[in-house]
């Protein structure tokens, strides 16, 4: 192979290795969106007070995004929800709404905020707003549970809901016992003593 071609190839490889040191952000997996689309309406039904969060017989899922590229990728969620629940769930329609983080304060009547990954500051602001409005929060990236989001999904050899116990407690949300049995409970706190405080009784009465 000609030397100059080898030089170009070496430069390309070096560039790619340099790129590897950049900070990363998220591409979304369509299969994961399909799983979220299947589970979210069912998880919502596990909230004892869900009827108070549904307006005009419509479950409004608001997808909160940072960039237009995120919004474009999250369209698959809408596609899968409409395919899975064409008639809605439990006689309630399901609507999806897309809103950027910057406009979230103008949102009304949402049942759930589906939070796409962004800075922890934006996530925390969205969580605070949601708690104030008694809106359930769900994050695409389970890492965002640490910022107070209530629900996510974990995929290993099995699929399990992830429940942020502290976040639910803070928002005074009560879930049906079965969900707590099948889910993995997320604790942000690393203190063993604080963990011990969340006994069985406390869990079922969050």
């Amino acid at each position: 192979m000609a030397k100059w071609k080898v030089d170009i190839l070496i430069k390309l490889i070096t560039l790619l290795l340099l790129l590897s040191s950049m900070t990363f952000a998220q591409g979304m997996k369509e299969e994961l969106l399909q799983i979220h689309a299947t589970l979210i309406p069912k998880l919502l039904m596990m909230d004892y007070d869900i009827d108070k969060k549904i307006h005009n017989d419509t479950i409004k899922i608001t997808v909160v995004y940072e960039s237009s590229a995120q919004k474009e990728q999250a369209q698959h969620l809408q596609k899968y929800i409409h395919a899975k629940y064409p008639q809605g769930i439990n006689n309630k329609k399901i609507d999806l709404n897309f809103i950027p983080y910057s406009q979230l304060k103008n949102d009304k009547d949402s049942t759930l905020y589906y939070l796409l990954h962004t800075s922890h500051k934006e996530i925390s602001k969205a969580v605070t707003l949601a708690n104030h409005r008694a809106i359930i929060t769900f994050c695409y990236d389970q890492e965002d549970l640490q910022y107070g989001v209530m629900l996510s999904i974990k995929v290993t050899n099995k699929v399990k809901p992830l429940i942020n116990v502290e976040a639910l407690k803070e928002a005074s949300i009560t879930l049906r016992p079965l969900l707590l049995k099948v889910a993995e409970l997320y604790y942000h706190s690393t203190s063993f003593m604080e963990f011990m405080i969340y006994d069985q009784q406390t869990l079922y009465n969050v």
């Binding site: 190839l9 790129l19 990363f24 952000a25 998220q26 589970l39 039904m45 395919a83 290993t156």
Partner: protein, 647 residues
């Protein structure tokens, strides 16, 4: 009064009925999504296998055109070719020769005649939702031929939700390809999907002298098409696919060019079909029943070899059919166990088998003393039983064990055990250790070939077997990055080789290697994937096996601009390939190819323009000694344009 007394009980039972159904509903959904995760291989790093998933949408952005070009992106997989133009896959240093199983939407296409799969090489990327490639043995679920790899092509027909599509592609080779994929909802839970494509190619690559000293062009012309149908409802599904590949014989069946005026070739026709019923006995036990019918036909006509007294003509015609039925039970009845039990029966029979060889000047006198390729009425009954159990030993450890028993009426039986452990050391790091045994049943050509001096079978041949040990390390620091490093060692025993025209069992080969993959999203706009693999393949005399690249590498990079344009860059490297002992030529030089694509999407229309082999690198696939001195030369720079309409 009684009614009033009963009323609270009625209310309570109604409330509990609602709770019961909500809870049941959630549990059923959790099972459903676990199945989605397994089916789409989303949780592949937690499963006892080494699998690469290639997504159709990303392949299009990289300018990848068809199945075999896509497979070149899999770590440890090298593409090569025989003189006849039949593409060959080399998985971890193991030349395919029936050792890789190909499935289309879960239905195997390998035939009993030769186990061949090459005629699916041109399956277009526009019809592919994803390709699941398992490296290493997969006999536990797939039986014979799943020795060094399993490829499952999931078409868009099989996907539950997808858009309709029309596509058209042209290239400077020249080649043209067009097709469509259409979905029709028949009811709330049933749908029908159809796809079809047609490929025309007149690609001819200039080459140096063949074994007779003649200079010419390889004939890589093609007129291929396929039609697929997929029906699915809640419990029942049916799929069928017809595929025909009519192709030129490239560098010739006998490694000699055909005359330009009288180009012939091969026609491979395949029909596969499967009816499947899925249901559950209860929440913990799901079963499926399948019934399938496959047909394969091959016709070859070629000027096999020019001689001083006239060209030798070779014509063959072969057809086989097989019917199979399979039942599987998936059970999570026992806590922490995921059990799979299966039983399968298959019957295969050669229906037509004819060989005609003659000198063009004396057509009534055959030059080979046989009129059949293999003994007539070859047939085979295959009965299989398999069991596999995945056991959760706590949150961090899964253990998997399985066993398959296959009984063939024509050569005997094969046992394929599997044992593995998956350890989730920390959230970001998994380790897998797997041992598997797999086998390849001797093909009918190897058992029953009847061409004295060229190809003579041995009915006493036994199956080739492989034993493979694999260690996998998976590091996922966050959702945006995955780093995988796999090590493996494999031994293939009871190798079947053709020596002095006789098929016979001969010794062992050994394969050692490593595969590394790094997959990352560098921001919302950038996806990068890098693979690197190394293999040492040696025979039982410790000599390196020829015509295999030790080192393979790929880098693919997709960048999304804000105004609907995406860029796909692909760099592929294949190292030098050593020669056979009787070949005095220097090692075949390695090569690196750079492809670049740009894709623009506006509403429902997508246009993709690609340049392949930008630097017009000269490269070749290895040819045997004393045939093509400069090997099987490949195409230089080529230009491609695709238009796709989604509706």
């Amino acid at each position: 009064m009684l009614k009033l007394l009963l009323l609270p009980f009625l209310c309570i039972s109604l409330i509990h009925a609602e709770e019961f159904s909500l809870e049941d509903d959630l549990l059923s959904s959790l099972d459903e999504v676990s199945t989605i995760a397994s089916k789409t291989k989303l949780n592949i790093d937690d499963m006892p296998a080494f699998v690469t998933i290639l997504k159709g949408s990303n392949l299009e952005l990289l300018g990848i055109q068809d199945l075999y070009e896509a497979l070149s992106l899999v770590p440890g997989v090298e593409i090569s070719m025989e003189g006849s133009g039949a593409y060959e896959l080399i998985f971890r240093g193991v030349k395919e020769k029936g050792k890789v199983k190909l499935l289309i939407d879960g239905v195997a296409i390998n035939n009993s005649y030769r186990g061949s799969i090459y005629y699916y090489h041109d399956f277009p990327v526009e019809l592919i939702d994803r390709i699941e490639v398992m490296r290493g043995p997969g006999a536990i679920y797939y039986g014979s031929n799943a020795m060094s790899g399993v490829i499952n092509v999931i078409t868009k027909n099989a996907k539950e939700v997808n858009d309709n599509r029309l596509f058209l592609t042209g290239s400077s080779l020249p080649s043209y390809r067009g097709g469509l994929q259409y979905n029709y909802a028949l009811g709330e839970k049933s749908r029908l999907s159809l796809d079809a494509y047609y490929l025309y190619s007149d690609a001819r690559i200039e080459s140096e002298a063949d074994r007779t000293g003649q200079i010419g062009h390889s004939d890589e012309s093609a007129q291929n098409f396929s039609v697929g149908l997929n029906y699915s409802s809640e419990h029942l599904s049916f799929l069928a696919r017809f595929k025909q590949s009519q192709e030129g014989l490239a560098f010739g069946l006998g490694n000699a060019f055909e005359s330009q005026d009288d180009q012939t070739g091969s026609i491979n026709t395949s029909v596969l079909s499967q009816l499947q019923y899925n249901n559950q006995i209860n929440e913990s036990n799901h079963y499926s029943l399948s019934l399938g019918l496959n047909n394969y036909r091959q016709e070859i006509e070629t000027r096999f070899l020019p001689t001083s007294s006239g060209d030798l003509i070779y014509k063959n015609s072969y057809a086989e059919s097989s019917v199979f039925t399979e039942g599987t039970l998936n059970s999570s009845q026992f806590d922490h166990h995921s059990l799979v039990l299966g039983v399968r029966y298959e019957y295969a029979q050669a229906r037509h088998n004819e060989l005609n060889t003659y000198n063009e000047n004396t057509p009534s006198i055959p030059f080979l003393p046989t009129e059949t390729l293999i003994q007539p009425d070859a047939k085979r009954h295959i009965f299989s039983l398999y069991v596999n159990d995945s056991i959760e030993l706590g949150e961090k450890v899964d253990v998997v064990g399985g066993l398959r028993w296959d009984n063939y009426s024509d050569f005997g039986h094969a046992l394929s055990p599997r044992l593995g452990i998956i350890y989730r050391a920390i959230k970001e790091y998994n380790i897998k250790l797997l041992y598997s045994r797999a086998y390849r049943a001797p093909s009918w050509l190897e058992l029953y070939a009847t061409i004295p001096g060229i190809s003579v079978g041995d009915p006493s041949l036994q199956a080739e077997t492989s034993d493979t040990l694999e260690l996998g390390n998976i590091y996922r620091p966050n959702n945006d990055q995955t780093l995988r490093l796999n090590l493996y060692v494999s031994q293939i025993d009871n190798l079947i080789v053709r020596d002095a025209a006789l098929y016979q069992q001969s010794g062992k080969n050994y394969y050692y290697g490593a595969e590394a993959e790094w997959i990352a999203s560098l921001g919302i706009h950038d996806d990068i994937k890098t693979t690197l693999s190394y293999v040492e393949a040696i025979d039982n005399n410790n000599s390196a096996l020829p015509n295999i690249a030790n080192l393979l590498a790929n880098i693919s990079y997709i960048h999304s601009f804000d105004f609907g344009i995406k860029s796909g860059t692909l760099l592929k490297y294949v190292s030098a390939r050593s020669r056979a002992e009787n070949d005095s030529r220097d090692a075949l030089e390695g090569y690196a190819l750079l492809d670049q694509s740009f894709s623009y999407t506006y509403k429902a229309v997508n246009l993709t323009a690609s340049v392949k082999n930008i630097f017009d690198i000269n490269y070749a696939y290895p040819a045997p000694a004393n045939t093509y001195v400069n090997d099987y030369v490949r195409e230089g720079r080529s230009y491609w344009l695709s238009g796709r309409l989604t509706f």
